[in-house]
Amino acid sequence: MSQTFDDISHQLKRRHRKSARLKWMSMGALGLAGLFLLWFFSDMLNKGLPAFQQAYVQAEMHYSEEASKDGRKAIDKALVPVVSRTEVRGIPLMLRNNPDMIGDRETRWLLANSQVDQYLKDHRHKLSGNEVATVDNLVESGQVALKFNRAFFTQGDSKIAESAGILSAVVGTVMTMIVTLAIAFPIGVMTAIYLEEFAPDNRFTQAIEININNLAAIPSILFGLLGLAIFINFFGVPRSSPLAGGMTLALMTLPVIIISTRTALRSVPDSIRHAAFGVGCSRWQVVRDHVLPLAMPGIMTGSIIGLAQAMGETAPLIIVGMVAFIPDVGASFTNAATVLPAQIFTWASEPDQAFVEKTAGGILVLLSILIFLNASAVVLRKKFERRW
C-alpha cells in the first residue's frame, strides 16, 4: 500500500507554497508593469498640464509716439519687467504698419514673462524679492492671472519660453505624415497584394518576406542614415524638409503596412476567392472587387497603427536634420520644418526651467494624438471585425 492522502498532503505543503509564490510573483510583475505605466502618465500629466495655462498681464496700452520706437514706452513702467519681451518687441512694428493707431489707448491682456508664469505655478523661478512683491500686488488686483495658453497652440517655436508654441511642429508633422502615407500606403498595399495573391512560392518571394520582417526590426536610426546618404546626399532632396523626413519615415512604415495588409488579406477566406473565380473573374478582378474591399478595414487599421508609430519617431528625423529651429509655420514640402517629437527633443535640451513644462505639454499633445489614432484603429477593427 502506498502513502495515504494525509501523508502526501503533508509533504505537499511546501510545494504548494512555492507554487502560490510563483502565482503572486507573476501577478506582481504584471502589476509592476501597470504601475510603471501609471507612474509615467501621472508624471507627464503633472508636469505637462500647467503648460496649457499661462500667466497674462492686463496692461493699459498707450500707443504714444515714443512707443513706435521703443515698445516698452507703451506700457506702465512698473509692468515692464513682468511683461513678455515678445509682446513689447512687436509694438513698434505694429505701429509702423498702422500709423493711425498712434495716440490710441486700450486695455489688453499681454503675455507675462516666463519667470512670472513659473512663480505663479509655484515652480522654480528667478524673480527678485521686489519683483515677487510687484507680482503679488498685481495678482491681488487681478491684473495678473493664469489663463488658457493660446500662444502654445497658435505660435511656432521661440527661444523665449512664454511664446514658444507647437503650431509649426504640428504643421510639420502633418506635412511629413502626408508624404509618409502617400508613399508607404500604396507601395505597402501593392507589395502585400503581390506577395499574398500573385507571387509564386519561390526563393525570390521568400527572400522578400524575410527581408520585410528584418526591415521591421532594424533600428530606426539606420533608416536615418539611409535617408541622409541616399535621399539628401545622392538625390539632393532638401535637408530638414518634410519631403526628406517623410520619405525616410515611409521606408520605416512600409513593413508595418505590408505585414498588416497581408494579415488582412489572409483573413479573407478562400471560399470568397473561389466563388469569384467561379463566376469568371480574373485574378486581378477577384482581388480588386472582392478581396480588397473585405480586407480594407484591416488594412486601414494597420496603416493607422503604422502612421502612429511613424508620428512618434524621432531618431531618423534628427539624422535628416528635422530638428531645425522653426519659428514660422512652414508652407512647403521642401522647406525646413520640424515635427512634434523633434520639437519635444529640442525643448527638452533647453536649459530654461520654463521649457520643462513646455516639453511635457508637447508630450501630452503628442500622446493625445497617438492615443486618438490607436483608439480609432481599435474602434475600426471592432466595428468591421468579421468572423468567417
Partner: protein, 279 residues
C-alpha cells in the same frame, strides 16, 4: 473498505455500482467507489447518476459510443476536469475512505495516487531519463542519484521500454516513435508509484504492433496497479479487461465481467452496441 463482497448468481440485478457478474479469478478489493455522480458542462449534463465500484489490481474498461461521457468520467477520478472552468460536479467519488471531490481534498495529492496516460503520447520536452525521473524526484521518492537511476530503470523495464532506450537515455523523449513515446508516458506514470492508472484511449493514436505491446503491458501492470482504461475498440476491451462498463449518453448501462458481457449481455442496448448496430 469493502472486501467481503456478497456472491452473486448470474443475471441477478446487483446492488448499486456492483457488476452484474463477478469474475472468479479477479481480486475484489474496492479501489474507487462512485455514487450518484452527476457532471455538467455549463448547462449540459454529461454524466447522469453514475454508480460504480472499481476493483483493485484489475483492468476495467469503459466502452461506449463517442460522446457518451466515458472520458469525462475517467477525468473525474483524478479531478482533471477541474482544469475546465465550466465543469460542475456533484456526487461521491470515494477512494481510500475519502471523498475525492471534497473541498479539503488536495487534488495534487489525489493525482499523485491516481496517475493518467493520455490518448496522444505527451512526453515532456526533456530527455528520456528526465521524463521518468522528474516526478519521483519532485515527490521525494528518491533521495540519491543511485536510487533515482534504479527507479528509472525499473519503471522503464516495467513499461517494457528499457531494452530499446537504455543506450540513449539522454536523448529527448520526443525522438522516440509513437508507441515508444506512449510507453515512456506509462513509465513516467508508474514511476511515481500510484495506486490507480487511468488510461484515456492509450492506443488510439498508435499502430497495431505498438497497440499489442501496450495491451500486453496492461496485463502485466495490473499485478501492481488498478487500471481503468477508456477504449473505442471493443476487441481491445475483450482482450485486456477483467471488467467492462458500457456507457451510453452519460449513463452506465451495464457493468459486468468482461467475458460475460461480451457473450451474454444483460441489456438490449449493450447487445446492440457490441454487435455493431451503432457506435
Amino acid at each position: 473498505m469493502n472486501s467481503q463482497a456478497p456472491q452473486f448468481s448470474q443475471q441477478m440485478a446487483p446492488t448499486a455500482g456492483q457488476p452484474y457478474t463477478r469474475n472468479e479469478q479477479a481480486c475484489h478489493d474496492l479501489s474507487i467507489r462512485v455514487r450518484d455522480l452527476n457532471l455538467w458542462y455549463g448547462k449540459n449534463q454529461a454524466l447522469k447518476n453514475l454508480n460504480i465500484d472499481l476493483f483493485q489490481k484489475n483492468v476495467t474498461a469503459l466502452i461506449g459510443p463517442s460522446g457518451c461521457g466515458k472520458s469525462t468520467f475517467l477525468r473525474c477520478l483524478n479531478r482533471m476536469n477541474d482544469l475546465i472552468p465550466s465543469v460542475h460536479t456533484e456526487g461521491l467519488v470515494e477512494m481510500d475512505g475519502r471523498d475525492v471531490n471534497a473541498a479539503k481534498m488536495d487534488e495534487v495529492a489525489l493525482r499523485r495516487r491516481v496517475g493518467m496516460v493520455f490518448q496522444k503520447p505527451n512526453p515532456f520536452p526533456k530527455s528520456i531519463y528526465e521524463n521518468v525521473a522528474y516526478a519521483p524526484r519532485m515527490h521525494d521518492l528518491v533521495s540519491r542519484k543511485v536510487e533515482q537511476d534504479e527507479l528509472v530503470e525499473k519503471a522503464l523495464r516495467d513499461a517494457g521500454l528499457w531494452q530499446e532506450v537504455k543506450d540513449k537515455l539522454q536523448e529527448p523523449g520526443t525522438s522516440l516513435s509513437g508507441g515508444q513515446q506512449q510507453r515512456l508516458c506509462i513509465a513516467r506514470a508508474i514511476a511515481v508509484q500510484p495506486d490507480v492508472i487511468l488510461m484515456d484511449e492509450p492506443t488510439s493514436a498508435l499502430d497495431p504492433i505498438s497497440t499489442a505491446t501496450i495491451e500486453d503491458l496492461m496485463d502485466k501492470l495490473k499485478e501492481q496497479f488498478t487500471i481503468i482504461t477508456v477504449t473505442h475498440n471493443m476487441q481491445q476491451a475483450a482482450r485486456v479487461a477483467d471488467y467492462t462498463a458500457f456507457f451510453h449518453l452519460g449513463e452506465i448501462i451495464e457493468y459486468n465481467d468482461t467475458k460475460v458481457m461480451f457473450s451474454t449481455p444483460a441489456k438490449k442496448k449493450t447487445e446492440d452496441y457490441i454487435s455493431g448496430r451503432y457506435g
